[in-house]
């Protein structure tokens, strides 16, 4: 099944959903996924360029998996086409304030080029866009109401089996970020449950440096205790949702709020809360 089909099929947890609710802003999570308010304003440029970037790498990895020839040199230009298509799909409603579309296309081409130059030819691609839907169970055997649903960008083998996530970023990752990454835990757990034993999770990161992009690989591992901890977090998330104890991230007016598409609803939250309770009662 595709990720979209899995998402539509049932209420579920995903890495991004858990991360938003527990680590970013529970109110943003509630506006989007609980009360399902329509988002305000245009889609962020990062989201649109990220989709086109992923699509390029998907095509390359799928061709490698199937043993098909692909002209890698054409992939950077394909990025421009895919970006235009993605903008069309979003109805042209993209926030180009920080970077205009032409600059984003140029940058995207350089990022794709950097990624494909650093592909390890010895690695065998086992799966691309591998989806999973799996129970979450804590150390005491308590299961969540909703399963964990997700999609791993790529699974490769070269003496060990590795789940790979493709990323771009303005900065390099710290070892702490990689070691604590909830995405790493969720992806390793989901792929392990659906595809069998997996050894490593890896971020394949292209860093957007001023002179030229740089390619970095960050590997990390997880164990059963980490998976139990993830389930405990999901159980806690279900309590938050059940009790509707959502609140704004008041310290987050810098980064998380910058991308938030519920700013107006958030500003009015402490006034509309009473209305919500009275209507629901």
């Amino acid at each position: 099944m595709t990720l979209m089909e899995l998402r539509d099929e049932r209420p579920h947890w995903s890495y991004s959903s858990l991360n938003c609710l527990l680590n970013v802003c529970s109110l943003q999570w509630a506006f989007e996924r609980h009360w399902k308010l329509p988002p305000e304003g245009p889609v962020s440029a990062a989201l649109v360029t990220g989709s086109a970037y992923h699509r390029c790498l998907e095509l390359e990895a799928t061709a490698r998996m199937n043993g098909e020839a692909i002209q890698r040199g054409k992939l950077p230009d394909l990025f421009t086409t895919l970006l235009e298509r993605q903008v069309e799909q979003d109805g042209g409603e993209v926030d180009w304030k920080e970077i205009d579309q032409e600059s984003a296309a140029n940058e995207g081409r350089r990022l794709v080029q950097c990624h494909i130059e650093n592909i390890d030819p010895e690695e065998q691609v086992v799966a691309v866009n591998h989806t999973f839907c799996t129970p979450l169970v804590d150390a005491q055997g308590n299961a969540t109401e909703r399963p964990l649903v997700g999609e791993a960008d790529c699974v490769v083998e070269n003496g060990k089996r590795t789940v790979v996530d493709w990323k771009t970023s303005k900065t390099r990752y710290s070892s702490w970020k990689v070691a604590k990454s909830m995405q790493g835990t969720a992806m390793l757990y989901g792929v392990r449950q659906s595809l069998g034993p997996v050894d490593v999770f890896r971020f394949d990161l292209v860093v957007k440096l001023k002179r030229a992009p740089a390619f970095e690989r960050y590997e990390t591992t997880r164990n059963q205790d980490d998976y139990h901890r993830l389930a405990s977090l999901a159980l806690m998330a279900e309590k938050i949702v059940k009790n509707e104890t959502f609140h704004p991230c008041e310290g987050g007016f810098a980064s998380p709020c910058g991308f938030c598409r519920y700013k107006a609803a958030c500003k009015a939250w402490h006034r509309d809360r009473e209305r919500l309770i009275s209507v629901a009662a």
Partner: protein, 150 residues
């Protein structure tokens, strides 16, 4: 004679922003005398599960047609679980409530998630719990109940 009264209610989002709609259903059933504590526990879970499924189906608008009703089969119905396969029953996939109930029964029986997955692969020929169809899930729940009673 024992009387079991179960109710289930849930609030769902209404069409208007910031508003919700309440759904509630109640069911009263008579239980035979002489049931053990575990058997009563099972009856409570079964009744509650049935109510919950009905309310969730009402909210989602997926109320089964008459043709779908009674499609649940036990493993003894002369149709082996493996033959029914994925979505081979009434076409619906296992619900979250069924999956949760099966996982809770597994926990109480001391069956680990790995063992449960193995059982599902061996008996039903699918990859995991959420790959099961609704009728196979009912059969799995029956199997886990039998394990518990034994």
């Amino acid at each position: 004679m024992l009387r079991l009264s179960c109710s289930y209610s849930r609030k769902a989002q209404a069409e208007e922003a910031y508003s919700s709609r309440s759904y509630h259903a109640g069911l009263e059933v008579e239980l035979p005398a002489g049931l053990t504590g575990d058997q009563i526990d099972d009856q409570v879970h079964n009744t509650f599960e049935q109510l919950r499924r009905a309310v969730e189906a009402e909210i989602s608008g997926q109320v089964p047609s008459n043709g779908d009703k009674g499609a649940h089969q036990s493993p003894d119905a002369g149709n082996s679980p493996a033959k029914r396969g994925r979505n081979g029953g009434n076409g619906r996939r296992i619900s979250n409530a069924q999956a949760k109930f099966a996982l809770d029964l597994a926990r109480r029986n001391g069956v680990t998630l790995a063992d449960l997955d193995q059982m599902i692969r061996d008996e039903w020929g699918v990859g995991g719990l959420y790959d099961m169809d609704a009728s196979s899930a009912s059969a799995l729940i029956d199997t886990l109940k039998v394990k518990k009673a034994a």
